[in-house]
Symmetry: C2
Subunit: 172 residues, 2 copies
DNA sequence: CTATGTATGTGATACTATAACATGTCAAGG
DNA sequence: CCTTGACATGTTATAGTATCACATACATAG
């Protein structure tokens, strides 16, 4: 049941460090899914069963999953079990902005802010593998400035950081 | 013949947009190689024939080469022709800071500033495939700020941008 | 109903990367 | 000198990631 999204109402959205903070993940996930459905309806994209299921799988945790991890899940649930099945669904989700590819991990993670224009940076914990989508507007601005200085026009950017999340840092 | 490196003396170093600017590439490449030799001597690392040759190959152009591209070159010149040969040499070069891995391309490019501490950002032209190592200190600072805001400690960062270099932009 | 575009199924293959173990090389210490 | 140990390379095999190409199904507009 899609519902209007009020960030103030959403424990997940309220925290910028979503992936690293305790939060109502069921809400967080169902909300992202609902927003994806709304966006698809608006733009006429088709959130088919496989695509929807892949998004659900990605939304289960704040980590990145490899295409073959996704594929194994799909296969065990009766969907196709050939690589293109997973890759095509993932490609669709990335195109629509419902998921992001994490270059460093050759893996994919659900987008926590579908529909909102954003230049994301990803914070990847090397211990617990949590992936957090950080606000990167200033980062992207600095990158644009550096590029503009040499006459380069940026079309897509990849900003990823590997390190320790607050919890794992404290544990160490 | 190794020589002392004076940036003011180096047409390459003078331009921040090295890869995109016309420059004395022979000088640019031989200089980077010479600096790598000096650094190896200083830290006791061994720039063996394969490693040196791989660095020379990477230095031939301001583009990124895949491990298998490098391997093919090596094989055609009588070095080993198994993947580990290339991967080990590339790993050494990256560890020593003589080369960088471009995550987006699964490829490697020679470092234009070996020995100088730098948090590089890479500008990748999608048309001519040139890769430029841009000054990214402000970018990295913005990223550190964003990470610190959520208590995340960055250990390694990947900052890459895909787009159009000045030449290709003009041509389009 | 059927033509068309889009999505999926499927087999094969290409590309990227590492494990594991054998062999070679070189320099320091006996 | 020679041995020993650390590092580098050679080689086989295999793991992991991604795409091609073609067949089939499915939904919707005309």
């Amino acid at each position: 049941m899609p519902h209007t999204h009020d960030p103030a109402d959403c424990p997940g959205c309220a925290a910028p460090d979503l992936a690293f903070a305790r939060h109502d993940h069921a809400h967080c996930a169902s909300d992202a899914l609902a927003r994806a459905e709304v966006i698809c309806a608006e733009v006429g994209a088709r959130l088919t069963p496989v695509r929807r299921r892949v998004l659900e799988i990605l939304l289960e945790q704040h980590q990145a999953l490899g295409a073959y991890d996704v594929l194994n899940r799909l296969a065990s649930e009766g969907y196709g079990n050939q690589p293109p099945v997973a890759y095509r669904a993932l490609e669709f989700l990335v195109e629509q902005g419902f998921a992001h590819r994490i270059q460093r991990l050759n893996a994919f993670t659900a987008c926590m802010h579908p529909g909102e224009a954003h230049a994301p940076a990803f914070l990847i914990c090397r211990v617990c593998s949590a992936v957090s989508e950080a606000a990167a507007t200033p980062v992207r601005a600095a990158l644009d400035t550096a590029a503009a200085g040499v006459g380069f026009v940026i079309e897509r950017s990849t900003i990823e950081a590997l390190g320790l999340c607050p919890q794992c840092r404290e544990a160490a």
